[in-house]
Amino acid sequence: MLGDSRKAQEVFHTTLREAALRAAEGELPKEPFWLFHDARWRCLEATKTDLQPESFEIDEHEIDPGAASQIEQLDPAQLAIWISAAPDPQRTALALFYLDEFDYTEILEIAELKLTTLSRCLAKGRRQLQAWLDAKHPEQPKL
């Protein structure tokens, strides 16, 4: 979500501290995903003052059958930065989806999205990531 481990750690600890305080006061919300919901808003708040990505059309390519091998060549930190650079709600959608911890209904609840929006964000994200992969690690032509 943030592409910056220091900021991520800050948000993580603030969220937990706040949760502990609310638990001590017996004011924990009843919604099942309130902690993740809270953490998401803190992430968005933390990046508010950062440089925002310019709004310009990013290339989009259809998913390549050999994309998996292109992804393997990526550095995990690079991928984290690429995701964090996406505008919200695409950033939230990609981060939560690829964490592989939530099903789509849970993501809709945490990110407060509609199914069509989540679907559009993910489809667009895949095509843009493919375009970035093609630019960064062009697939070797098969002999």
Partner: protein, 257 residues
């Protein structure tokens, strides 16, 4: 229009389809995935998603935060001890119920262990003995053993014989009456310890009509009275006295079975 809406929804679901099939909990998602499972486009998407997720798992987590995701339990739950468990109201209630049920069962089992053919009649006759007054009987002063002839001659009761153990005692009175099942009962009152003797038909097998024999002497108890019962030639004999088994034991020659 409806079909178009459905197709759009299915497309939207496929874009959000989990790459891990364990997460296919949603029915509409399962249906959408099963329809598209073999298409090249969907297979590419799934492979793409799996590869990205595998890379996301490799994103380094700062050590301080990683501590929170360790395998160890952060909060150790309080251990259950026997003391705590016993104090639990539910456990307590169930335990009491089980003890009561077990007690009743044991009581009934012990009661059944002492049962023998004719024990129910014998208990009823003990109640009769408790409520009988001497004036209710015909005065007869004789040896108990001699009343067999009286019962046979006057009432036509065969084998209504007083056993040798009680045959020599003097009688005060006797009578013959029918119980609620129209069985002929002979009752003798003795001078000895105000003891009462009963003779009544032994129980029979409901199907064959054969007498249900039992060996030796058996004891029955009812409202402070005790009876020693034996069976001979299809007739049961009971000596009844207010008191305990030991009050009768001294009269019975054969050991208790």
């Amino acid at each position: 229009m409806k079909t178009l809406r459905l197709l759009r929804r299915r497309r939207a679901l496929l874009n959000c389809a989990p790459f891990n099939h364990d997460q296919l909990a949603d029915r509409s998602m399962r249906s959408a995935v099963s329809r598209a499972d073999s298409s090249d486009e969907f297979v590419n998407q799934q492979n793409f998603d799996r590869a990205v997720a595998a890379l996301v798992r490799l994103v380094p987590i700062p050590a301080e935060s990683a501590e929170w995701f360790s395998e160890q339990d952060l909060v150790v739950g309080s251990k259950w001890t026997w003391k705590k468990m016993v104090r639990n109201p539910a456990v307590l209630a169930i335990s009491i119920a089980v003890v009561v049920i077990a007690g009743v069962s044991v009581f009934q089992l012990l009661g059944r262990l002492n049962d023998f053919p004719g024990s129910a009649t014998a208990r009823k006759l003990l109640a009769v003995a408790a409520s009988t007054r001497p004036v209710m009987l015909d005065p007869v002063s004789a040896e108990a053993g001699t009343l067999s002839d009286l019962f046979f001659m006057k009432h036509g009761l065969e084998h209504y014989d007083v056993p040798d153990e009680f045959a020599d005692f003097r009688t005060i009175g006797c009578r013959v009456f029918d119980d609620e099942e129209s069985r002929r009962i002979a009752q003798i009152w003795l001078a000895e310890k105000r003891m009462q003797l009963f003779l009544f038909p032994a129980e029979r097998n409901m199907k064959t009509g054969a007498v249900l024999h039992f060996p030796g002497w058996r004891y029955v108890h009812q409202e402070g009275w005790v009876g020693a019962v034996t069976e001979h030639s299809g007739v049961c004999f009971m000596a009844a006295v207010r008191g305990r088994e030991k009050d009768l034991e001294q009269y019975i020659a054969t050991p208790k079975e």
